[in-house]
Amino acid sequence: MLNNGSLTRYAPSVIGWIVLVSLPEWINVVAYTDLGSRVVILGLAAMALNFLLGHTGVLSFGHAAYFGLGAYGAGLTLRYLAPSTGLAILVGTGVGMMAAMLIGPLIIRLRGVYFAMVTIAFGQIFYFIAFRWSTLTGGDDGLTNWSRQPINLGFATIDLKSPVAFYYLVLFVFAVATAIMAKLLNSPFGRSLLAIRENERRALFLGIPVNLRIWLSWTVSCGFASVAGAMYALLNNFVDPRTLHWSQSGAFVIMAVLGGMRSFWGPLIGAAIYVVLQDYLSSRTSNWMSLVGLVFVLVVLFFPRGVLGMLGRRTQA
């Protein structure tokens, strides 16, 4: 996406990265470091969703399932398998991506509203498994008694206890994940996804195997959502079934739309606004849920193109 090289094109990204890298230095003035980690993690999840929603044009309303699978994968690994944060992230990602790969063939033939409905419904399976299988997952009380472990690189050990250290791990994972997504979108594969979004029938006539590409895009998208989920579990040292619930999927969609789903970084901005707003509202009033609902309604009625869409910056995917 940053391929024409002019200063004006690079400037927003450079400023964005400076803001993210320096975040622990200034965030304590207004909030706390974990809030920054939450923004980046949920931003990654929203960007992952947007890979499918904004760049492939397929409406998924069930991404919380894969986010939650990533979270449970990571949590269960640390609780039962091995005290390794790296392994936890890998397992979480693997579990979420595998589930998406398997469910993919059942849904890729569907389109539009139907696709959205089926993804929501499938997401609920994992919610009920997490809820019911309480001997393994802790059920409604959530999975506890585990915590993120120091990462041993061989020559050095990184202690992740402090929020700042963990924030930088999150940022590192975020940077790698977004770099891969940007690379994929700029590849011929990514261009074929845009072609599907713009005109599916035409893409089909050009010889693009549409359903296969949607399946790949779905798997990639859910895979990165589970990366975000694994990081979210590590952030809280806790997972509960609400991570998997469909209302969380709705939150991801609203983040993408709020920030601008036609742009690459939009969902991150949407996540920042949403997370900060929710954090603020839930500390002020017990009726934050209706206020969040009101945000949904207002966004649809007045900002359907999102913040970056409103600014009119025409970012090429």
Binding site: L59, V118, A121, Q124, I129, R132, M289
Partner: protein
């Protein structure tokens, strides 16, 4: 054992009837306008709560008659001022809008009526078991099944034989032509939305007597309704009805043999249907 199975079968039929009533309303709205109404469960809860509030004044029967109508009226207002604005746009926006509405309604009912389930009185003439052997056959349960059956037949009759019903059916196939032929489609969609919400309100009043009513009742019933529609096939109302009854009975029977899969079984059925027949059991080819 036979009795246990019969008991659960009957229970499943009742729960399935709730799913079907709710899913039929969702289907009606979706077929004509392409809007998936996430707030449908919220309207169901409102129906239940309104009946709870009205019972001291109107009695059980009065509340049963009035509460769904009031809910439907609220639906007409919501459609007029909110839902109408997203017709013809990407389905994404209608989903988000109704999603936000669902949040607002759930929180609103909690604010007005409290977070705890409220007690809901069913007349004693309906609660006594009709048979000592089949203890589960209370009047209220039979009454629910009968009323659900009457409502569904009423809906199908209305769609088949009245002018409004004919227009709704025609609009489902080709709204533009219906509009060109001189039907006010704004009013048509408004009334159709109200009709869908009426069914949700009615399901809410009935569910209140059976399950009690609490703010989260809507969000717990909305997913099974989605599954009913998917299993039955998008665009087919008889399919939706069948889907609702099928998953209701299936999860009730599963609760006898393998309780922890009670909820999961409906999703397994959905996956199987999608695998074999992506458009659903009674879905029309190429509609979605």
């Amino acid at each position: 054992m036979t009795q246990l199975i019969l008991f659960n079968l009957f229970n499943g039929l009742i729960v399935g009837a709730f799913y079907a009533l709710m899913a039929l309303g969702l289907s009606l709205i979706m077929n004509l306008t392409g809007v998936i109404n996430f707030a449908h469960g919220g309207f169901l809860a409102i129906g239940g709560y309104l009946a709870y509030t009205l019972i001291p004044y109107l009695g059980f029967w009065g509340a049963l008659a009035v509460a769904p109508v009031m809910t439907a009226f609220l639906g007409l207002v919501v459609e007029r001022f909110l839902i109408r604005r997203v017709y013809g746009h990407d389905p994404l926006y209608s989903l988000l809008l109704t999603f936000g509405l669902a949040f607002i309604i759930e929180d609103g009912t909690r604010y007005i009526w409290g977070a705890q389930a409220v007690p809901y009185e069913v007349p004693s003439s309906l609660t006594t078991p009709l048979s000592s052997e089949y203890f589960f056959l209370t009047g209220y349960r039979l009454f629910m099944v009968a009323l659900a059956a009457i409502s569904v037949s009423g809906l199908f009759a209305l769609l088949k034989w009245t002018r409004l019903g004919m227009r709704i059916r025609a609009g489902t196939l080709d709204l533009e032509t219906v509009s060109v032929l001189g039907v006010n489609t704004a009013i048509l969609r408004n009334l159709n939305f109200g009709l869908g919400i009426y069914l949700a309100g009615l399901a809410g009043v009935l569910a209140a007597g059976q399950l009690g009513v609490e703010p989260t009742i809507g969000s717990s019933l909305i997913m099974p309704s989605f599954v009913s529609i998917i299993v039955g096939g998008l665009g087919s109302l008889p399919g939706t009805l069948f889907g609702g009854l099928l998953i209701g009975v299936a999860s009730a029977l599963t609760s006898v043999f393998y309780p922890s899969a009670t909820e999961a079984v409906m999703y397994v059925i959905m996956a199987a249907v999608l695998l074999v027949r992506p458009r659903g059991l009674f879905g029309q080819e190429g509609r979605f």
